[in-house]
C-alpha cells in the first residue's frame, strides 16, 4: 500500500484515500474535429507502459478531492515526487536523478519525495 504525499494537503496519507486515474499529462486535443480517427484513437486508448519512471494522475478522493500528479518508478514503486496540476515533473526519463535546471528545493518538495528508492 502506497504512502502518498498530497501536494495540496501537504501530508503523507495512505493509498486508501486516493484513486489512480491513469497516465498523467494526456492533453485533450484542442480541436477534436480536426483529429484523424487515428489521432483521436491514440488520445483515447493508447498509454505508455514504461519500465522505470512514469507520471501518473491521482486524486485525493476522500481527502481534499484535488487531482495531482505522481512520478513513480514502476520497478521499485518508489514515488519520486508529487506535484500539482499545471506543474512539471522534476524527475523524468531524461533526468532520472532530477532535472538540472530545477530551482532550490522547497521543504514541501523534499517532503513529497518518497523514500524507498533502491539504494
Amino acid at each position: 500500500m502506497f504512502h502518498i504525499y498530497c501536494p495540496y494537503c501537504e501530508e503523507h496519507r495512505e493509498e486508501e484515500e486516493f484513486h489512480p486515474k491513469g497516465q498523467a499529462h494526456i492533453a485533450r486535443p484542442e480541436e477534436p474535429e480536426a483529429c484523424s480517427d487515428e489521432e483521436w484513437g491514440d488520445y483515447l486508448f493508447f498509454r505508455d507502459n514504461p519500465r522505470g519512471i512514469h507520471h501518473e494522475l491521482w486524486v485525493h478522493a476522500v481527502g481534499c478531492r484535488k487531482f495531482f500528479n505522481i512520478t513513480r518508478h514502476t520497478v521499485s514503486y518508489a514515488i519520486l515526487e508529487t506535484y500539482k496540476m499545471g506543474e512539471l515533473p522534476r524527475f523524468t526519463a531524461e533526468f532520472p536523478e532530477g532535472s538540472l535546471s530545477e530551482k532550490v528545493t522547497t521543504e514541501a518538495e523534499a517532503m513529497s519525495r518518497q523514500e524507498g528508492v533502491k539504494a
Binding site: H3, D37, G41, F45
Partner: protein, 1012 residues
C-alpha cells in the same frame, strides 16, 4: 502419561505447572512454557504426520517457523478449528486438542502407504502441469483422491466465536526480531527517543540467546535478555510485541504484523473482566525505517531417507535440550559442515546422553568447538557424511562414509552405526523473506554461504539476517545498523555498552548440500529437499533433465517451496542440487524469491472487524425505519439499502415478489404510488461558468435552460459511450442541481472534478455533493396531483406547473423543491425536502393518501414501470459500449453545440458509425406467458450450426401487469432497422424462445400520461 524424554532439570519450562493435551485422540502431559512440538517430543511421539505425496511417516525436524512436517489441525470444537498450525509455534495450553493435518485414517498405520504409495504414482514431478493438460474432468478425480488422502487441513464449519482487530501503527523504526541482534538494535534506538516497535514471533523474546551456551558478561545470556527487556519496557517510546510475526513487507515500508494475543491461552479467547480480548490482531505498521534482525534458518543436509522420524536440524536439538528440557532421543549422530553445529553434540552430552559420532564433511576441522568435542571423547569422523538414515518409523542407524564433496562422490567404504537420532547441519540461510517481499533480489555471499538480502532505501539488515552469524559481531552489527537507521531519521544515537562475549574461534565451513550416495540420485534412497511438499533431490534432477534450467521453473515443476512452507528449509538445497545437475553455481541458477505471508495467517486476522455487519458500510435513507416497519424487502444498490418491494399479507400469506410488484405497478398506473428516491445522486453546481460546464459534459444543450426548468441529460466518456444519465434543474442563472444514478453518484462527482481540474481550470464552477442532504419522495400516478395539492401551497395547475418544470414552496409545511419529472410515464412529482423532514412529509402523504389508496413501491416496480416506457438504466441497459445513438437518443445529442463536448468526436469514428452496431430495441415474447431471461443471448437463425452467431442480448426483462405480457429491452445488431422481425433466444435447458423486435416504448407510446 510419563514424559520419557523430559529432563529432570534445565530449560525455560515451569515443571510445577503440568498441562494436559490431546494429540490424535491420545492424552499427554506437558508443562507451561512448552510448545506443542516440545511436549510431543517429551512424550516420545515420533510420528506427527504423514507426508503429502508419498504418505511417509514424518517427525519433528525443527523448532520454529521453518518446521516442514509438524503441521497440525488445532481445535477440540468445530468452531475453533484452525488448519496448518506449526506445532513448533503453538504454545501448549491446558486442554489443547490437535491432530495431524495429513494422514488418513491415522498417522501410525496409514492406508495410503498400504495401497502402495498411491500419491507417489499419482503425483510425479510436474504433476500440476501434466494434470492440467489432461481433460478437466480427470482433475476432479485427482483432486478428490489428493484431498481425501493427503488432507490439506480444513476450515471450521461453524461460526468463529472469536473476534479479531486491526491496529494502525506508525513508528520511526521497526525492529523485526528480538534475538541478540534485534535487542541490541532496539536498545540503541530506544535511547535516542525515537518511536520504536520491536516485534518477535516467538512466545518470548531473546531468540537464540534462550538456548545459547555462550555467556554474556560472564553470565548466562538470558540474564542480559531480561535486563534489556526490562529497560525497553520502561521506555514510553518503545512498543514491545512478542508473539507477533512480521508476515508481509509491502510498499513504502508498510509492514503487516500478526500478533497472537490469546492463542497461548486456549483455543478461543478467554473471558476477561467485562470483555473478551480479540484473539489476534493485525498491526498495520507504517515505518520510517525498518531493521531486519530476523536471524537465519539452519539448513539440513540432503541425504538418503533423511525424512525418517529422528532426523532433525542440529540447532533444533540444542533448542529442545536447553530451552525446553527435552532430549529427543538417546543416541545421537551429528552430520555437519561447520563448527557451530557441534553445540548440538555438546548439549546432548551435557545431559548425559550418548553421542555416537560427529561426522564432519571437512578434512581436519580445527575450531575451538571441535577441540572441545574431541576433548570430551566424542568420535569425530572427518571428510565424511551420513549417506543414509536407517529405520522406518524411527531412525535406527546411519550409514556413514568418506565423501568427496567437490566431486560429489562417495570415496570410502560405508559403515553403519546404530543411533536413534541424526542431527544435521549444512550451514545457515539468512531469513531474507521480508526483504524479498520488497522486490529486491538477494545476492549470494560466498563467504557466509547463503543469500544475503539486497535492501531498498530505509531497510537495514543486521546480524545473521545478513550472514553475520558470530554472536559478538552480531551484537555490534545490530547496534551499528540501528545507528545507521537513526542517522537516516536524523536522530543520531549514542553508542550503547555491548555485553562482553567470549567468542570461540570457528574454523571455516564448507559448501556442502546434497550428500552423494553409492547409487545415482535417481535410483538411491529418497533424499528429501522439501519435506512439506515431498520434493526429492531426484525430482529436481529430473526437472533439470526435462529442460527446466531456471530455478523458478524448477520450483514450479516440482512444487518446491510452495504453499505454507515458502522454502524455509529447502530452497537453498534445491538450488544447489539444480546447480550441480546443470554444472552451474548457485547464483547462476537464480536467486530465491519469497512471497507474503511468511507464515500462514488466519482469515480472521486478515479481516479483523471487517466482517458480518461491518463487512461494508451500509447507507440508509432518512425513511429507512419506516420501510423496515412496513415490511419492505430490501435490495442492495451500491452501499444503499433500498426497498425492493413491499409485500402485503393477503389471507394470512405474504405476497411473492411477482404478486407485490404487479399490485404496486397497477396502483401507480391506475391510482397513486410513492417511492423513496433519496438515493439518487445529487450534485449542487454553482458558478458563473456552471452552464458552460454542463454543456461540455452533457451531450445535449444547456445554454437556454431557464430557471424553473428541468432537462434530462446524457453523459458520455470521450469515447462516446454512455456513462450516466439524469436530470439537471436550473435553480438560478448560475445555479444547477444535477441528479445521477444511485450507483454512479460518486463516479460522476469525480468525473466532473477531473474535467474541471485537469482540462478546464479556467471555468468558474463549483461542485458539492448534496445526496444525503435532500430526501427525494416521488409521488406518481393519475391521482398524484389531487393528493399533493392537499398538502402544498405550490400551484399545481397543469398550465402553471408543466412537465419538466420545478417549483419551490411548502409541502407538509416544510420548505420543498418539487420537480415535475417522471420515471414512470405517469403524472409525477419528485419532492425534495431537507432529509430530516423526510419522515414528516412521507407520513403526512400517507395521512392524506388513504382515500387514494396511496401505495408505497420499491425498486422492482420502479424498474418495471420505466421499462414499460422504454426508459434505460445506465449500467443495466448500457455497459460502456453503447452510444446515445445506439440507444436511439439522437434527440438528446447537440451535434451543433459550439464546444466539442465530451464524447462528440467519438461519435464520428468509423466504429461508432457502423450500421450493424448493437442497438436498443424492445422485445415482445411470442408466448405472452414468457418472461425472457436477462442476459439471454439473441440469434437470428436458431437452426444455424453451433456456435451460432450471437447478435445481442436481453438487458432488462419483466412481466408487465398493465399489458398482460412479458416485455424486454435488448441490444440487437442493427436493431433499429429490424422492427417487426423475429429473433430467437436459445436457453440452457434447450428451449428456444421467440420474440418480436418492437419499439422500446411499450406503454403509452405518445407519452400523453405524464403531461396530464
Amino acid at each position: 502419561m510419563n514424559q520419557i524424554n523430559r529432563l529432570r532439570e534445565g530449560g525455560r519450562i515451569d515443571r510445577a505447572r503440568t498441562l494436559s493435551f490431546t494429540f490424535n485422540g491420545k492424552r499427554y502431559q506437558g508443562h507451561a512454557g512448552d510448545t506443542l512440538a516440545s511436549a510431543l517430543l517429551a512424550n516420545g511421539v515420533n510420528i506427527v504426520n504423514r507426508s503429502f505425496k508419498y504418505s511417509r511417516p514424518r517427525g519433528i525436524v525443527a523448532a520454529g517457523a521453518e518446521e516442514p512436517n509438524a503441521l497440525i489441525q488445532l481445535g477440540g470444537t468445530e468452531s475453533a478449528q484452525v488448519p496448518n498450525v506449526r506445532a513448533t509455534q503453538q504454545a501448549l495450553f491446558d486442554g489443547l486438542t490437535a491432530q495431524s493435518t495429513n494422514g488418513w485414517p491415522n498417522v501410525q498405520r496409514d492406508l495410503m502407504s498400504l495401497v502402495g504409495k498411491l500419491g507417489g504414482r499419482f503425483m510425479p514431478p510436474g504433476f500440476y502441469y501434466k494434470t492440467f493438460m489432461a481433460p478437466a474432468s480427470m482433475w476432479m478425480t485427482y483432486e478428490k483422491v489428493i484431498r481425501k488422502g493427503a488432507g490439506l487441513g480444513r476450515s471450521p464449519m461453524e461460526r468463529d466465536p472469536d473476534s479479531y482487530d486491526h491496529l494502525n501503527q506508525h513508528c520511526d523504526l521497526l525492529v523485526i526480531g528480538a534475538g541478540p541482534v534485534g535487542l541490541a538494535a532496539a536498545l540503541t534506538a530506544a535511547r535516542s527517543g525515537t518511536r520504536v516497535i520491536l516485534c518477535d514471533e516467538q512466545e518470548e523474546m531473546g531468540g537464540s540467546l534462550l538456548d545459547s551456551r555462550e555467556l554474556l558478561d560472564n553470565q548466562p545470556a538470558v540474564q542480559w535478555v531480561e535486563r534489556v527487556l526490562d529497560e525497553l519496557a520502561q521506555c514510553d517510546n518503545v512498543t514491545l510485541l512478542p508473539r507477533t510475526t512480521a508476515n508481509g513487507y509491502h510498499d513504502h515500508h508498510f509492514v503487516t504484523l500478526h500478533e497472537r494475543r490469546t492463542e497461548h491461552l486456549g483455543e478461543t479467547a478467554p473471558q476477561g473482566a467485562g470483555y473478551r480480548p480479540t484473539r489476534s490482531r493485525m498491526h498495520r505498521v507504517r515505518a520510517g525505517q525498518v531493521l531486519l534482525a530476523t536471524g537465519a534458518h539452519e539448513r539440513p543436509l540432503v541425504y538418503g531417507s533423511n525424512d525418517v522420524p529422528g532426523n532433525l536440524v542440529a540447532g533444533a536439538v540444542s533448542t529442545y535440550v536447553r530451552r525446553y528440557g527435552v532430549v529427543p532421543g538417546n543416541k545421537l549422530i551429528l552430520s555437519t559442515t561447520n563448527d557451530y553445529a557441534y553445540r548440538a553434540a555438546l548439549d546432548w552430552l551435557d545431559v548425559g546422553r550418548e553421542v555416537v559420532a560427529i561426522v564432519d564433511a571437512r578434512q581436519a576441522p580445527d575450531g575451538e568447538l571441535v577441540a572441545q568435542a574431541r576433548a570430551r571423547g566424542i568420535r569425530i569422523i572427518e571428510g565424511a557424511a551420513v549417506l543414509e538414515a536407517k529405520g522406518g518409523n524411527r531412525v535406527s542407524g546411519a550409514r556413514i562414509a568418506a565423501i568427496d564433496a567437490e566431486a560429489f562422490k562417495v570415496t570410502g567404504q560405508a559403515e553403519t552405526l546404530a543411533c536413534d537420532t541424526i542431527a544435521s547441519s549444512g550451514g545457515y540461510s539468512p531469513v531474507i523473506h521480508l526483504a524479498s517481499h520488497t522486490g529486491a533480489r538477494p545476492s549470494w555471499n560466498e563467504e557466509s554461504l547463503g543469500f544475503v538480502p539486497s535492501l531498498v532505501r530505509g531497510v537495514h539488515a543486521a546480524g545473521s539476517a545478513r550472514g553475520v552469524h558470530d554472536l559478538a559481531e552480531g551484537l555490534a552489527d545490530g547496534a551499528a545498523m540501528a545507528e545507521q537507521a537513526l542517522e537516516a531519521l536524523d536522530r543520531p544515537a549514542g553508542p550503547i555498552a555491548l555485553p562482553q562475549v567470549d567468542s570461540l574461534r570457528e574454523g571455516a565451513a564448507c559448501a556442502f548440500y546434497q550428500v552423494p550416495h553409492e547409487k545415482p540420485t535417481l535410483r538411491g534412497p529418497k533424499q528429501f529437499v522439501d519435506q512439506q511438499n515431498d520434493v526429492t533431490a531426484a525430482a529436481i534432477e529430473l526437472a533439470t533433465r526435462e529442460g527446466f534450467e531456471s530455478i523458478e521453473h524448477v520450483k514450479r515443476y516440482t512444487a518446491m517451496g510452495f504453499g505454507t512452507d515458502q522454502g524455509k528449509l529447502g530452497n537453498i538445497n534445491g538450488m544447489a542440487i539444480a546447480a550441480r545437475c546443470l554444472g552451474k553455481t548457485i547464483p547462476e541458477v537464480g536467486t530465491t524469491v519469497f512471497r507474503p505471508n511468511y507464515t500462514p495467517v488466519t482469515f480472521g486476522a486478515i479481516v479483523g472487524r471487517h466482517c458480518r455487519d461491518l463487512f461494508d458500510p451500509e447507507r440508509y435513507t432518512a425513511l429507512h425505519q419506516w420501510h423496515v416497519e412496513h415490511g419492505a424487502e430490501f435490495e442492495d444498490v451500491g452501499q444503499w439499502k433500498r426497498p425492493w418491494y413491499f409485500p402485503k399479507t393477503v389471507n394470512g400469506k405474504s405476497e411473492t415478489l411477482d404478486e407485490a410488484v404487479a399490485r404496486e405497478c397497477l396502483a401507480v398506473r391506475q391510482g397513486v404510488g410513492v417511492l423513496d428516491a433519496s438515493t439518487l445522486g445529487k450534485i449542487d453546481i454553482q458558478g458563473p461558468d456552471a452552464r458552460e460546464f454542463l454543456g461540455r459534459v452533457y451531450t445535449n444543450k444547456w445554454a437556454k435552460l431557464a430557471p424553473g426548468r428541468v432537462r434530462y441529460g446524457l453523459m458520455c466518456k470521450d469515447d462516446g459511450m454512455l456513462m450516466d444519465d439524469g436530470t439537471t434543474s436550473c435553480l438560478g442563472e448560475n445555479h444547477f442541481l444535477m441528479t445521477t444514478t444511485t450507483g454512479g453518484a460518486a463516479g460522476v462527482m469525480e468525473w466532473l472534478e477531473l474535467w474541471h481540474q485537469t482540462e478546464w481550470p479556467e471555468l468558474q464552477v463549483y461542485f458539492t455533493s448534496v445526496t444525503d442532504h435532500w430526501a427525494t419522495i416521488t409521488v406518481t400516478g393519475p391521482e398524484a396531483r389531487k393528493l399533493l395539492s392537499e398538502i402544498t401551497d405550490i400551484d399545481l395547475d397543469k398550465e402553471q406547473f408543466k412537465f419538466m418544470d420545478w417549483r419551490e414552496g411548502q409541502v407538509a409545511d416544510v420548505p420543498a423543491r418539487v420537480f415535475r419529472i417522471s420515471f414512470t410515464g405517469e403524472l409525477a412529482y419528485e419532492i425534495n425536502v431537507q432529509a430530516n423532514y423526510a419522515l414528516h412529509v412521507w407520513t403526512t402523504l400517507f395521512e392524506h393518501g388513504d382515500k387514494y389508496d396511496l401505495t408505497p413501491y420499491g425498486t422492482e416496480t420502479m424498474h418495471v414501470l420505466r421499462a414499460e416506457k422504454g426508459l434505460i438504466i445506465a449500467g443495466q441497459d448500457t455497459d460502456g459500449s453503447v452510444t446515445p445513438e445506439d440507444l436511439g437518443m439522437q434527440w438528446a445529442v447537440g451535434y451543433d453545440k459550439p464546444f466539442p463536448w465530451i464524447g462528440k468526436r467519438a461519435l464520428s469514428r468509423s466504429d461508432t458509425r457502423r450500421k450493424d452496431r448493437k442497438q436498443l430495441v424492445g422485445l415482445k415474447p411470442k408466448d405472452s406467458a414468457v418472461v425472457l431471461e436477462e442476459g439471454a443471448q439473441i440469434v437470428f437463425d436458431p437452426d444455424h450450426a453451433i456456435p451460432m452467431p450471437m447478435v445481442g442480448h436481453v438487458t432488462s426483462s419483466y412481466y408487465s401487469a398493465i399489458l398482460g405480457h412479458g416485455i424486454a429491452l435488448a441490444v440487437v445488431k442493427g436493431g433499429h432497422h429490424r422492427i417487426g422481425e423475429t429473433v430467437y433466444l436459445p436457453m440452457v435447458d434447450g428451449q428456444v424462445h421467440q420474440a418480436e423486435i418492437v419499439s422500446n416504448v411499450f406503454y403509452d407510446p405518445k407519452g400523453e400520461r405524464q403531461h396530464v
